[in-house]
Symmetry: C2
Subunit: 185 residues, 2 copies
């Protein structure tokens, strides 16, 4: 079940470096794109930065709407995650071709993907120079959610191997999240 | 053994989102700091972005030298990785207190840490506005290295559990890199 995560703790959902799916929408158009280059940059306000390349349909929709959602997929979605990074959604709806089910977000127009482990709804902080020079988008997290089987009491757990997060290395090779280890306090 | 990685493929060393140790040096002063908020932002030129908070000794040394190194530690270094994120190196040399051994880099003054799995030598691209507003430092990777037991034929492998990379969630809780999985081409 999808449960709300306080914004102050939203960074925990991506702090371990998972590869994400960025969803976008503008008017009747929508898209989903794989993005490994997404990370937290602040706790309060909860803020992220994402690389969204200049020649992509996602970029067009982000610039039109000023919003996107960061979805954290699980190993169960491996093939769809890789495929969503290869094809453009400009001509064909990738949700349909990849078997991804979208549901409405709470604060942004971009949809959330069913079956993911966590979700961040994001609103772009306009930084034209960063966007043009580096394809870097700063965004405030305006709502955060986690699957309550995977993120319990503000901590990640991965109930089964298929529930682990995916971390792309390159060319369709990923490493999944492994064991939880604790350092000496 | 430390072997050179072509710059075009340097992103693979951090693409799966490991928590890193950032090393710095300026004159006789040097430091090491834990940094989870480091990611690749381009392939060619090989480029990264890192959050380096305004009130840190590392920030002072990065601003003085225009350089830093990103070290990718292994699970064997768990306690030192967490501890390096808690104490400041301004008053005491953290290398000594944490038992970290530094060796010279090839292109930058910042040292490289023995026992890590990968290393990126980085030169800051001056972006004063990004640095001031978001503590974000853009840097070109000018040399990249990997341990040849962990990164073979341009691919990560983790020979033992202690050789896995560390991915910080929060408060000293990390997840290690898990299984390598391959998506359908």
């Amino acid at each position: 079940m999808r449960v709300s995560v306080p914004l102050r703790r939203a960074y925990k959902l991506i702090n371990h470096g998972p590869t994400t799916l960025i969803t976008t929408a503008s008017g009747e158009r929508r898209n989903v794109m794989t993005a490994a280059w997404v990370m937290a940059i602040d706790f309060e306000p909860a803020r992220v930065v994402a690389v969204i390349a200049a020649d992509t349909f996602t970029r067009e929709l982000v610039e039109a709407s000023g919003e996107f959602a960061v979805n954290v997929p699980t190993a169960r979605m491996l093939d769809a995650v890789y495929a969503a990074g290869k094809a453009s959604g400009e001509d064909a709806d990738k949700f349909a071709t990849l078997g991804l089910t979208a549901s409405p977000a709470s604060m942004v127009g971009a949809p959330l993907l069913e079956g993911c482990a966590a979700w961040l709804e994001c609103r772009v902080v306009p930084e034209p120079q960063m966007q043009e020079r580096y394809d870097l988008f700063v965004a405030d997290v305006v709502a955060a959610w986690a699957d309550d089987a995977s993120f319990v009491d503000d901590a990640w757990r991965f109930p089964g191997d298929e529930d682990r997060t995916l971390h792309h290395i390159s060319g369709g090779v990923f490493v999944t999240s492994g064991q939880i280890v604790k350092a000496k306090p």
